[in-house]
């Protein structure tokens, strides 16, 4: 088998690509062998997606060549890539929402449907997956959609599978079964390019790793040659290695005795969560841990007036704001930075200034806007948050993920809230920007803002929180004081397991 391992499936040589004057890839060399799981990591804007789109034939490179199994291929259409056994499972699944699962999987094949059906059932049995083929794809969860995508790729007998952040929206069990699948595929000789932001996964699943930064592969090699710190260093911009991801801004523990909660939720029930009670104190960061889909985002959006309250109360100070509209909730001093900034967070076509001040449009204008005030507020936040922009007039969608997130947080702050709900504030942004966001959160805490921090990244909860709750399947199942917040405790609680030792709730 050892000689077989040396078979090169994919070989990418000196690929360059520019969009207008912006050079995104500056000469990429990449090899994928049979049975390789190559973890590709890199910050947002490093060029990972562009590279994958070139390999998939969606974009054309400006220069450089791609060969598949030693044969030079002019990859100018996705159908050519598919014919050569490449399949890309995109980060956001690209299913046909109005079609059934079966139609989705069968789409685009030349073979007879009957044969395909047989192969599909066989494949699903082999993988031990159960999914109702007659369901409409639009009704599937993201995780299920991803499984459908993988099935599509496997049914095509893909030899090269590209998984673009496959676990970013999966639950714990689903991640486990995905890893199992990846290992199975590896045994079959399939080469996998595994793009991820979760560094721990690199060591769990990959045998090789490549780090991309600024359109170049800066480091690559067998996983054994790397450790966690080396990966982090490789991701950080050069000359920035003094600043580690861990912001060790040790803060004094809060004196709870002298504080009164500024924000309270009592026995709140809504769509996706049940009987939730919590309170947040001024200057406190309350972590809300749990897996994706535990109901945390639904809780936040319901508090924020976007969904109906079924029962229970929400208090700010002593004022009952249960069931208020979003605008009224904001007026009462609660603001929310949503999880998915692309879907709910930004006005991509507008500039940075308009995005920053859009939340307080009403305060800024009598009838016409006041450009001066708008500029001042924007300038203040750009400086404070070290947002990298060419100017206030830069269009939002052209910023990197981390900088977009800073603008979104700035926008929430422009309303001067007493309570801020942050939903996955660092999801999908690179290590450098993450450090900045953490220090922003610390600044807010110092200002006395009560922060409810929703995160699936337990390290983030440990790093920032004064207290933490865990949510499991729509309910709060544990509360942890500062010293109890450990990776193990959070993990156990988030997956519905009894943590080893739990103190008073």
């Amino acid at each position: 088998m050892s000689e077989k391992r040396s078979n090169t499936l994919l070989s990418v040589r000196s690929i360059t690509k520019s969009f207008h004057t912006n050079s995104v890839l500056k000469g990429i060399d990449l090899d994928l062998q049979e049975s390789d799981v190559l973890a590709l990591i890199g910050g947002n804007g490093a060029g990972k997606s562009t590279l994958m789109k070139i390999i998939m034939g969606i974009y054309q490179q400006d220069a450089g060549e791609i060969s598949i199994s030693g044969e030079l291929v002019n990859m100018n259409k996705p159908s050519i890539a598919l014919a050569h056994g490449i399949y890309l499972v995109p980060q956001e699944p690209m299913l046909f929402p109005n079609m059934s699962v079966e139609e989705n999987i069968m789409m685009g094949f030349r073979e007879k449907p009957k044969n395909l059906q047989k192969q599909l059932t066989q494949l699903m049995k082999q993988l031990d997956w159960v999914i109702d083929l007659s369901r409409t794809a639009g009704s599937l969860s993201i995780a299920e959609q991803q499984l459908v995508e993988i099935l599509r790729g496997l049914l095509r007998n893909a030899k090269i599978l590209i998984l673009d952040e496959p676990t970013s929206s999966l639950t714990f069990n689903e991640v486990e079964s995905l890893f199992k699948i990846v290992k199975d595929l590896k045994k079959k000789g399939i080469g996998i390019i595994y793009i991820t932001h979760r560094l721990t996964e690199v060591f769990t699943i990959a045998n090789r790793v490549a780090i991309m930064r600024d359109g170049l592969i800066t480091l690559s090699g067998p996983v054994e040659d790397f450790d966690y710190d080396m990966l982090v260093k490789g991701l950080l911009p050069e000359g920035d290695d003094s600043e580690n991801t861990s912001v060790s801004q040790e803060t004094k523990p809060l004196e709870y005795a002298s504080l009164k909660p500024v924000f309270e939720v009592k026995k709140l029930c809504g769509n996706g969560f049940h009987d939730v009670s919590l309170s947040v104190y001024p200057g406190e960061i309350l972590g809300l841990a749990g897996v994706v889909g535990a109901g945390r985002t639904e809780l936040a959006t319901t508090i924020f007036g976007k969904d109906e309250v079924l029962s229970g109360t929400v208090l700010i100070g002593n004022k009952d704001i249960t069931g208020f509209s979003t605008r009224d909730v904001m007026d009462e001093g609660v603001n929310y930075v949503p999880e998915d900034r692309f879907l709910h967070g930004i006005f991509g076509m507008l500039d940075v200034a308009a995005n920053t001040t859009s939340s307080r449009m009403r305060n800024l204008s009598k009838f016409f806007l006041q450009p001066k005030a708008e500029q001042e507020i924007t300038e203040e936040y750009i400086k404070q948050f070290r947002t990298k922009v060419t100017g206030q007039d830069q269009v939002m969608s052209s910023l990197s993920g981390g900088n977009q997130q800073k603008v979104v947080i700035a926008r929430a702050l422009a309303t001067e809230p007493k309570v801020l709900i942050l939903d996955e504030p660092t999801r999908g942004i690179d290590a450098g920007a993450r450090t900045d966001v953490y220090s922003i959160i610390h600044q807010l805490k110092a200002r006395g803002i009560a922060i409810l921090l929703i995160s699936s990244d337990f390290e983030e909860i440990i790093e920032l929180s004064d207290r933490a709750l865990s949510m499991y399947s729509g309910r709060i199942n544990h509360e942890f004081s500062k010293h109890e917040i450990t990776q193990d405790n959070l993990m156990a609680a988030a997956f519905g397991v009894q943590p080893g030792r739990v103190a008073n709730a």
Partner: protein, 337 residues
């Protein structure tokens, strides 16, 4: 949970059609006579053909408002040549007119990336103008009786041959769209164009084909129009775009693309054709025809979007509710705290 696919919606359209006949029948019983019902269906043959063509375009998520002018142009070309004794050439040229208009639209929308509403609106103007140039503003009249009688020939005294052919065509297209690999591309492209690209489906070519088919069917509609009406004015086919778009929407073809079937388009066209006769039987002036079509179109679109939002919302709530762990098992976990 039921699957909301095109067929149930086509069924509700059939029910709507029956109710409409019964409702009007209550007021004027002669409306329910078989001969009238058949007349209504047969009179809708041009709408039906054109609606099936435009359905391809709507299913791929685009729109084509040039079909009215295309019907008129094809009818004028076909009619004038038939009058001059060149029937076969007339029919072929009418089809060519349709295909050319479709190619023009499709090229503009896919390769020049012009929004389809603008592209086809422009085409509509161009083609309508060309009818005036071609006919010099005069009516095309005095078509031979044999040509006109083509549309009157009936199949066992029920459907006209035209309508029967249309129904056969409908079945064939239905099978093509649902059973063949390429036929399925149309829905895929309308449902999620980016997803279709990733699967190697030729999105541009599929859309171009949809426009060509829309033009071709409008061409066929034009030939049928010339035979049925027997004379062609420069405004022939005007307003057909609204009728057939309304027919498609009524038949459950979603304007956002990806959803719908040819059966729906056919039933919708039958409703549209009957509507004009309803006015006659209710003793209302036919001046209201277009207004009622327009109102109906808007009502259906609004109803559809509300309905879709509701069902999406209901699905979301069910999905979320399914996630909440039952109280017993939850307390089991937390009671130890």
């Amino acid at each position: 949970m039921r699957k909301h696919k095109s067929l149930p919606r086509a069924t509700t359209s059939v029910i709507f059609l029956i109710l409409m006949f019964l409702g009007v029948g209550l007021i004027n019983t002669s409306f329910l006579k078989l001969s009238n019902i058949l007349l209504s269906l047969n009179s809708g043959v041009v709408y039906t053909v054109v609606a099936m063509g435009i359905a391809f375009v709507i299913i791929t998520g685009e729109i084509d408002v040039s079909v009215g002018a295309t019907v008129g142009m094809a009818a004028a070309v076909c009619g004038s040549l038939v009058r001059d004794g060149q029937g076969t050439l007339g029919v072929l040229l009418a089809l060519l007119v349709g295909i050319s208009v479709g190619l023009f639209n499709g090229f503009g929308v896919t390769y020049l990336r012009i929004p389809s509403i603008i592209m086809t609106l422009g085409t509509n103007g161009i083609v309508r103008g060309m009818i005036y140039v071609y006919t010099e503003g005069k009516w095309v009249e005095n078509l031979p009786v044999e040509f006109k009688s083509l549309s009157q020939k009936q199949f066992f005294g029920t459907f006209t041959w035209f309508y029967l052919l249309t129904l056969i065509g409908m079945v064939l297209i239905f099978l093509f769209m649902n059973k063949s690999r390429i036929g399925r591309y149309f829905k895929a492209v309308g449902d999620n164009p980016n997803g279709a690209t990733l699967l190697g489906i030729p999105v541009k070519e599929t859309k171009l084909t949809a426009f060509v088919l829309s033009g071709l069917f409008a061409g066929i509609g034009g030939i049928m129009y010339a035979s049925r009406v027997g004379f062609i004015t420069p405004i022939a086919g005007m307003g057909y775009e609204m009728k057939v778009i309304a027919a498609c929407v009524l038949g459950g073809i979603s304007l956002t693309g990806g959803v719908g079937s040819m059966v729906g388009a056919t039933v919708g066209a039958a409703i549209m054709a009957s509507l004009s006769r309803v006015l006659v039987f209710l003793g209302l002036p036919s001046d209201y025809d277009n207004t009622i079509t327009g109102i109906l179109l808007i009502i259906i679109v609004v109803f559809d979007s509300v309905f879709q939002k509701r069902s999406a919302e209901r699905m979301r709530k069910q999905r979320l509710a399914a996630k909440i762990v039952h109280s017993e098992s939850a307390s089991e976990v937390s009671s130890h705290a």
